[in-house]
Amino acid sequence: MTAALTCHNLTVAFPLGNGKKRVVLNKLNATFPAGQISIVSGAIGAGKSTLLNVLAGLLRPTSGEVRANDQAVSRWMGVHRDRWRQQVGIIFQHHHLLYGYTVLENIMLPLIPWGRTLSACRRKSIAVLQQVDLLRCAGDLVNTLSGGEKQKTTIARALVTQPLFVLADEPTAHQDDESAALVLNLLDQCTARKAVVIVATHETQAQAFPGKPLRFRLESGILKPLAY
């Protein structure tokens, strides 16, 4: 699957516990094409992370669908849903690393289900660590890293399987200028191999992206395309 990722009437509502629900995404319609970075910006609490979670198959929508190559991937269940997630690389805003593990082990995590040998997983992970300039921390436990280093680990973990769909939530949040440029370059390389790249970020950081990314603004649960 290398075509676009589209949302059809996507609605996500969270129960508030008193019988009411908070609607975060409200019949959202959008298309995110392959080979181009799509930036989703919006205020805090607008639902950017929720949108990425739904696109990544981590959260089921309340109604509506996410389609990839005309298949309703958001409605896939069981092993099909797991296989959809294997095609997605997600960079979390809050890292979500395994704290009892080393950096290298965290990066190897997406490779284990693919059935490769342990040494092949290690080689691939080390290659990605080199790309994000974090090789020196390979054997360190994750809880000893700085915020920026944890972010790089998350990025490396997301990209180690060379996914066709890359979803990044605030990928440059804890990075210095040099590291931020490295991250943006890596995301750009993903578009070069025709991956769908969607980045959720604040308006100010959206300016730094190279090329001509597609821009959207998420407000009141609706996604509006913006002119570049």
Binding site: D82, Q87, T117
Partner: protein, 382 residues
């Protein structure tokens, strides 16, 4: 040899050595204790059955309204020999008399008879005035004579002890010369305590009972080997029932321990959520949990089973009779037959390992139907 997932699981287990060790210890001890509780009645029954194989197929006793009566030998022999299916008949002289430490069973051995199992273990049979004694008869004292009181009181020279592996049946047994036994019990000449009857085929024991009973001119009571085995089985079943009830809380405790352990240390839902977001399938997560549990559970089970085997089958154990059967005074040394051990060990392993494996799978199976986002954030969106 091992897959990547298995190595990953094993390294996971080693990441938390203290918790792993505690879990292993709990599983080992639970299996050892339960194994002992369930293995012992079975082992005892198998041993009794094996020893009963050497006993007569049918034992015939003469009875009247008051109970046991001496049996006239010639009359009995001629009656029994006409019963189809009877191969041989042997009159037996035995009874219960008083010894210094309490009542004992005395048995008279004819001079031309060597009991199976004794022949290669005893040097000589007792002559007049001599006795072979079981381990429990002398309370462990190294006496050279023993005074027995029955119809009369007589001292006997002790010429040897009966072998320890036969303790279950010979613990309180005294073997005497036939004439001495007859005098001590008070049996007149030409009479016997009962008849030991051998049949052609094992299954004929029950089949010829009615013919055997009607062949005698006086009332008799017949006891087959199967009936004896059944009586022991029923008695042991009561004990094993009580033991089995202890299985319930033990299994529940182990399951709880495993679930808490898994939840706290190895299978935090957020970790499962992160794995799912990285493309781990439910099947992979379930297999990981299974490998984690079995890498601790299997070795612990093996050690526990070995311990149970040793406690039950360790040669000459006496403590187990004291604890389980209440044999306070000089419990016999037990040399138990291991034939039925495999069945019981499989039962124990199944009773413990299956719930442990299922408990470990609980969190993983829950993750199969919960959104990865909910697992990561620790919220319930169902």
């Amino acid at each position: 040899m091992f897959s990547t997932l298995q190595i990953w699981a094993f390294r996971d287990v080693l990441r938390r050595p203290v918790e792993t060790l505690l879990l292993a210890l709990a599983v080992t001890l639970t299996i050892a204790i339960l194994g002992t509780l369930l293995l012992f009645p079975r082992a005892l029954y198998d041993t009794i059955e094996r020893l009963l194989d050497a006993s007569p197929a049918i034992v015939v006793r003469r009875v009247n309204a008051t109970g046991w009566q001496p049996l006239p030998v010639q009359e009995a022999l001629s009656a029994v020999r006409n019963v189809i299916g009877v191969v041989s008949v042997r009159p037996r002289i035995w009874g219960v008399v008083r010894a210094p430490q309490g009542p004992v069973t005395v048995m008279g051995l004819p001079p031309d008879y060597l009991a199976r199992g004794y022949a290669h273990q005893t040097e000589r049979l007792p002559s007049r005035g001599q006795a072979l004694v079981g381990a429990g008869v002398l309370s462990g004292q190294a006496a050279k004579t023993i005074t027995l009181e029955g119809a009369l009181s007589r001292p006997f020279e002790i010429i040897g002890r009966l072998p320890d592996p036969t303790s279950v049946f010979t613990h309180d047994l005294v073997l005497l010369n036939m004439a001495d036994a007859r005098q001590l019990i008070g049996l007149p000449e030409g009479y016997a305590s009962d008849l030991a009857v051998a049949v052609f085929h094992e299954d004929e024991q029950s089949a010829i009972l009615s013919d055997l009973t009607t062949a005698f001119p006086w009332p008799v009571q017949c006891l087959t080997r199967h009936q004896s085995a059944g009586m022991y089985a029923s008695g042991l079943n009561r004990g094993s029932t009580l033991s089995a009830i202890t299985v319930i809380p033990a299994v529940l405790a182990v399951c709880l321990l495993v679930m808490v352990n898994i939840r706290l240390t190895m299978g935090r839902q957020s970790e499962l959520g992160i794995m799912k977001s990285m493309g781990w399938t439910t099947g992979t997560i379930v297999r990981l949990q299974l490998y984690r549990t079995l890498s601790v559970g299997l070795p612990s089970a093996a050690v526990g089973l070995v311990l149970a085997l040793f406690m039950v089958y360790g040669p000459g154990t006496t403590w187990i009779g004291k604890v389980f059967l209440g044999w306070e005074t000089l419990p016999p040394k037990l040399y138990l037959a291991p034939q039925g051990a495999l069945t019981v060990l499989l039962e124990v392993a199944g009773l413990i390992l299956v719930p442990v494996a299922v408990s470990a799978l609980g969190p993983a199976i829950k993750s199969a139907t919960t959104d990865a986002h909910a697992l990561i954030e620790g919220i319930n969106t169902q």
